[in-house]
Symmetry: C2
Subunit: 423 residues, 2 copies
Amino acid sequence: MAEAATKIRPRVLIVGAGFGGLSCARALKHTDADITIVDRNNHHCFQPLLYQVATAALTPSQIAWPIRALLRGQANATTYLAELDAIDLQKREASAGGLNLSYDYLVLATGATHSYFGHDDWERVAPGLKHVDDATAIRRRILMSFEEAELTQDAAERVRLLTFVIVGAGPTGVEMAGAIAEIARHSLNKDFRHIDPQHARIMLIEGAARVLPAYPERLSSYAALALARKGVDIRAGVTVTGCDARGVDTSAGRIEAATTIWAAGVRASPVATWLGAAHDRAGRVLVQSDLSLSGHREVFVIGDAAIVKDGDGKAAPGIAPAAKQMGQYVARAIRARIEGREPPAAFTYRHYGDLATIGRNDAVVNIPPVTLTGFMGWAFWSVAHIYFLIGARNRIAVAFNWLWDYLTYQRGVRLILGARPQD
Amino acid sequence: MAEAATKIRPRVLIVGAGFGGLSCARALKHTDADITIVDRNNHHCFQPLLYQVATAALTPSQIAWPIRALLRGQANATTYLAELDAIDLQKREASAGGLNLSYDYLVLATGATHSYFGHDDWERVAPGLKHVDDATAIRRRILMSFEEAELTQDAAERVRLLTFVIVGAGPTGVEMAGAIAEIARHSLNKDFRHIDPQHARIMLIEGAARVLPAYPERLSSYAALALARKGVDIRAGVTVTGCDARGVDTSAGRIEAATTIWAAGVRASPVATWLGAAHDRAGRVLVQSDLSLSGHREVFVIGDAAIVKDGDGKAAPGIAPAAKQMGQYVARAIRARIEGREPPAAFTYRHYGDLATIGRNDAVVNIPPVTLTGFMGWAFWSVAHIYFLIGARNRIAVAFNWLWDYLTYQRGVRLILGARPQD
């Protein structure tokens, strides 16, 4: 094949260093390609544990690593901290950070952001949880609410300040609700003199009929019971019709709340717009069975930015393992083409299972045919998440933090930062 | 005495939970007084290690603790996160966060900020290091400079981006310069493909004739040599005449630099203005020998906000041990008055010594008659700082981080955060 015969090293441009982009870059380590990876953050973030940063259990550096440090030992990889400005599919060139980056293969792994279902103005009052900065901002809001409640003399305002609304009861929403309940019940219960943090109301709103709607019903029921025991007020079958700085309007009435956290919808980053490509309602690019763009075999879209359906029409879910599998698949495909070998068969997603923690000693795990709940689920969840962290240092630090918090019922990272205006 | 006979518990209001305010609050634990402590941050910060947050070695939560968690077990202490709005000396009342707080004793421990010697507009381009948010902002600037240098195609701009100017060669300036030199030489040296971080220029500017001007000359010379060996370019006897976003003007010419860090002057917080009290040029309130305000025996000013001269006219320096000693002294004075006992003799500051680290394996320690340099100084510095941290958790975490960095030459907290606009 022409590609294999050329003397010039093929250039692979990867945009986005999340689970998909990073796994693709790493899988191309021992190839003759030059890899360039561009991300607008300097770090790869382990999103499954972001909620622990938001709830003061972990510090950002324990779940985020500088991308260029992760690729330090990979001599064929160059990292740029830059935002993608444009793609020219005809010239096979992208511009980012003032550079024109020519490519032979382009991998777009730019992920997803929150969807407010057409109400983008809600984002300001009901932040979601996708980046480290989101997590520290939410941490600040949660902790500030307790501080302001301690100061206020107005009883109604105190109730509003101690009301926390989480919209969406998927894994993230469930984990946030459980963690906030524990902060109120255990971590802060002796810290205030005028309020009792245990009186905080934590409301979990879900449009579907049950929490964790994508999980088996038995696990949903278990999670609902466990959350209720922790004091979480679940409102299933309720939709949000409005969000403002003072509360939330729902199909079941108004809730006055100082803190609203959005864990509901997801919308792909605007790859489809950049490419002028076909997409679904969530903005995900409809890719071919080899994850390439129709008409452009050299362009791949992976992870939360793409949608690919397997033989029986099922799409891979927007979770880390799916993005990783896609990244590795595309690396294999590129490698095969570079080396002039047969390309791999169509991408198929392998689902290992679902995990969601509800809090101390409690999680639901569904790895068919096995389901785990309670302490066993929680132990499995903890070990699995430490295993998937990158680097021994972070594994040790997170394990130490968790053990300490477990023994003391405390939260180690209760800092309110970034409240001053910054440059 | 009248105060001892009254049935009503005396109210002590402490403004500021730095070393001075916190040590005062803690020393009043076993008294019959009601303590209220007000701070505009939710955390007490261990400022001597702030430069390690700024240089990506430690994470904010390792050197900062929620004030209310520190005072959790002290039933007579109430904490408010609020800014002081006004003091009414006649009514003995302060307002903060919408509350009117009456006091029988008032302790002002609001610390100091940077002095730009009348050029407050320099602050925006040459940030100082007093708060956790300052440290993460400086960390972002340092790391962003390397990132932008990797991207630029312009050779002169690359030099400017890799030039770091530190203004002021007291302990903080020396520590910052040494740490940035180590980041460039060791931590980042394999992470970039287009720049060599070892070519970074680190310039330490000092108006006095030598670095660490307050230390014995022998230690100054030692520190200067050690810094030079690390590649720090020392400009002693040079004053800064201008600062802008592109560099620094000095008495010895212009330096083009993307990052300027201010470690030069200190100015007290505006306590003297609030009180209408006599103060020195740095804004520090001139207090009586018992640290009280002239004409107001019930008002005390301590720490960096005050200046007190002992018998031979020497003032206590603006360092943590001095603030702690003042806080403890005022607690003793208040306690004596509450209990109707003789007040303690005039405050005297006891100086234990000076420490400054230059980097890996190197520090200068001056605890007369002992001086230590090199590895011995560094070992002493490390142990002393871990000892003075609050809480076993942070001691373990910091010791672990330092050990890991020492063995790997890495920096664990190289995150660029807060670059997105935040609410």
